[in-house]
């Protein structure tokens, strides 16, 4: 235990020292320079630093944050009324933010905020913590009579908003410090857009601050335009960075003697800007992630389908070519025997015939290797939740079903267990069966377009049937329906069922068809052992 603490201790010495120095410096920047007439900034970036430090290195380090706060109080604050009181306030905020960090970690909000819900939760948790800190921090001074109770509420609000703004801007940016390098890389690729956005922020700030003081707040809302634009293209981190820039702009404006709006109004406006950046950015990020996942799945499906098609083609080609090759080898060997019977035959003849046989065998080997390559299969062995898989596949046909005004009813027994196999391959099979069913029912009157998917468990097998109300399988193709290049669709390749059966058989199952007793069309039945063989 002691050793662990020591090891742990060594790992945090450097960041701990860096944190304390940075904290004091930020406080000095905010307080020692009276940038606004009220002597405090509308935000406390050092609080954001504190929460980020606790999230990155562990909530247990809260005593360090107390030290940092007390140290900066001693070194910087011009009017320390009472040292014990300051110490108590520092201790209070250290404990509360330590707890906040622990809660955020528990809620899995310590890393990038990947959804609007996550961003909202983080904001709410930070707001609660900042309020508790403010109530305590101001409360100590009220109780001891250092602050008039009439001023208490306003003081608490300012304190809480300053802390909250600091946490919401600085913490997400610092927590993502590992991704800064990627961010800079992206910035380099899209620098034109970034420059335009920066220019817009600057222009908006100039517009807001060079207007007559009374009108300033009315046009502060213009700042939402660049924030929204930036959030759309750079997600939360970019937008928060822009808010940071606006904050710096405010400070610069104040230093230049430009009149700035009233303090509390400014804080609330800033908070609104921050929340917009955070939530909008999270939504954009969420959407991009979903799109990425979808595209990836589509790509994987397409890749697997291409592989299966190539495999089926190769297999058919190998079989068709192997027949003439077999005949050819036999003819050549027969010729060799015939040549051996003639004593006066050219001696080169037999050698040549032998070479010919070798070459033909080589051609056959190439075919074999090609076929084995595709057969060897990139089949994965994973646990596949069949219920989720069929839900996903049927969902992808919703638009198609709507267009053909067909009804797909899917009944899946709760007894259907997860099966071991390759999810993508199973998806291809199910996809093919449903696509065929939709094609079949589109030839029936539109009032009778019905497809039923039924999955159940029979001992150690999964039985899936796809039935439709279409015209059924035509007699002339029924014998060879699973052969490649057999299709009833004018634009079809005749690969779907061939591939499906190959994939299912490779997995130890079987695919067969018959006539649907309930719907009158075709009924394709898939049997799949729940445990993969071999």
């Amino acid at each position: 235990m002691a050793a662990e603490v020591r090891r742990h201790g060594q790992a945090v010495i450097l960041p701990g020292v860096a944190y304390v120095i940075l904290y004091v410096a930020l406080t000095w920047l905010s307080y020692a320079q009276p940038v606004l007439k009220t002597e405090i900034t509308p935000w406390n970036p050092q609080t954001g630093l504190t929460v980020a430090f606790l999230l990155l290195f562990g909530p247990r380090l809260w005593p360090i944050t107390v030290v940092a706060a007390f140290l900066s109080e001693l070194l910087i604050s011009a009017n320390v009324v009472s040292l014990p009181l300051s110490a108590a306030a520092c201790l209070w905020s250290g404990i509360v933010y330590g707890l906040l960090a622990a809660v955020l970690r528990r809620l899995d909000l310590a890393g990038p905020l990947l959804s609007a819900v996550a961003a909202g939760r983080m904001a709410v948790a930070a707001a609660i913590a900042a309020s508790i800190v403010a109530v305590g921090g101001v409360g100590f001074f009220v109780v001891t009579g250092h602050v008039a109770s009439a001023e208490a509420l306003r003081g608490i609000a300012r304190y809480a908003l300053a802390d909250l703004n600091g946490i919401l801007i600085v913490t997400p940016l610092l927590v993502l410090s590992k991704h800064w390098r990627e961010g800079i890389g992206m910035l380099r690729n899209h620098w034109r857009e970034a420059v335009m956005q920066g220019a817009l922020v600057l222009a908006t700030l100039l517009m807001v601050f060079f207007l007559p003081a009374a009108d300033q707040l009315r046009f502060f809302y213009l700042l939402f335009v660049p924030i929204i634009w930036i959030a759309l293209s750079w997600r939360s981190s970019g937008a928060l960075f822009a808010v940071l820039a606006i904050q710096v702009g405010l400070i610069v404006a104040a230093r230049l003697g430009v009149h700035t709006p009233r303090f509390l109004d400014l804080q609330v406006l800033l908070l609104t800007l921050i929340l917009t950046a955070l939530l909008l950015g999270a939504v954009v990020g969420e959407r991009a992630a979903i799109l990425h996942r979808l595209r990836e799945r589509d790509a994987e499906l397409a890749r697997a389908t291409r592989f299966a098609v190539a495999g089926e083609l190769t297999s058919a080609l190998a079989h068709e070519l192997n027949q003439p090759i077999t005949a050819l080898v036999s003819y050549l060997r027969a010729s060799d025997i015939l040549a051996s019977r003639h004593a006066n035959a050219d001696p080169q003849l037999r050698a040549t015939l032998e070479k010919s046989v070798k070459e033909v065998m080589r051609a056959s080997d190439v075919l074999r290797k090609l076929r084995d390559f595709y057969r060897g299969g990139a089949a994965k062995r994973e646990e596949v939740d069949f219920v989720a898989l069929s839900t996903r596949v049927t969902a992808s046909f919703q638009e198609n079903l709507r267009q053909t005004s067909a009804v797909l009813v899917s009944t899946i027994d709760s007894s259907v267990p997860p099966v071991v196999g390759d999810a993508t391959q199973l998806e291809i099979v199910l996809h093919n069966l449903i696509a065929n069913a939709i094609d079949a029912v589109s030839r029936a009157p539109s009032s009778q377009r019905r497809i039923e998917l039924h999955a159940t468990r029979s001992e150690d097998e999964l039985i899936l049937s796809v039935e439709d109300s279409g015209p059924g399988v035509a007699a002339e193709v029924s014998r060879e329906i699973f052969e490649p290049f057999v299709t009833t669709r004018s634009g079809g390749m005749g690969m779907g069922l061939a591939i499906s059966r190959t994939l299912v058989q490779a997995r130890g199952g079987d695919l067969s068809f018959g006539r649907s007793s309930t719907l009158g069309g075709a009924c394709f039945k898939l049997r799949l052992p729940i445990e993969a063989p071999g």
């Binding site: 027949q323 090759i325 025997i337 076929r371």
Partner: protein, 216 residues
């Protein structure tokens, strides 16, 4: 071997032609069929040799043909031709009782080796069947009494014991024994006992293995 034929079934005309040429050049007789149905129409129990059949064919497949032959009690040894890499079907064919399988394209030496072996199996089987048939025919000539004496001798009983068991005189046992040995064309007692034991060993199987049952 002279009357043994390789019955070749393949739906590909070139393969039929090429393989039958090769087989005939190697000194074997062959007979070709374009489908399993054609072969079944021609086959009769007196056909000797072996069957060389493709597995993947239009209509009845090689496995189907094997099944039909099995159902009919045909014991003609079967060698199957498979497309390469088709391990599963080859395994199924062997399970069905095929004596061997060959991958296309076939090596002619391996082909002839496998076919000769199949023909040998057929000949061995045929020989035992003929012998059994002869034994059965000879045994059938015995009267009940003569058969009883034979069985008793095979059980190792002495003339005296046989006489007691059958309630006849030892002299009569001698007479029956002489007539029986004459009918079975056996010179020594040892031959007679061997024949009796052979008949017993094959007796339970006789209904399945008798050549007259192999007919459709």
């Amino acid at each position: 071997m002279s009357d043994s034929t390789v019955f070749l079934v393949d739906d590909d005309a070139s393969i039929r032609d090429a393989l039958s040429l090769l087989i005939s050049l190697k000194g074997l007789r062959s007979s070709v069929f374009a489908s399993a149905e054609d072969f079944l129409a021609v086959y009769n129990p007196s056909c000797r040799g072996c069957l060389l059949t493709d597995l993947k064919m239009q209509g009845m497949s090689g496995l189907d043909l094997q099944q039909v032959l099995q159902e009919r009690g045909v014991q003609l040894p079967v060698v199957v031709l498979t497309a390469h890499g088709d391990v599963n079907t080859a395994r199924a064919a062997l399970k069905n009782g095929a004596v061997d399988f060959l991958e296309k394209p076939v090596n002619d030496e391996v082909l002839i080796d496998v076919l000769m072996n199949a023909i040998r199996i057929d000949e061995d089987r045929h020989r035992t069947q003929t012998q059994q048939a002869q034994t059965t025919a000879r045994l059938a000539r015995l009267t009940t009494r003569e058969r009883e004496v034979l069985d008793a001798l095979a059980d190792g009983l002495s003339h005296k014991e046989i006489a007691e068991k059958l309630s006849i005189s030892a002299r009569t046992v001698e007479v029956y024994k002489a007539r029986m040995m004459d009918k079975l064309q056996c010179g020594t007692l040892a031959d007679v006992v061997r024949l009796a034991i052979e008949a017993r060993a094959t007796a339970p199987e006789r209904p399945q293995t008798g050549p007259n049952v192999a007919s459709q």
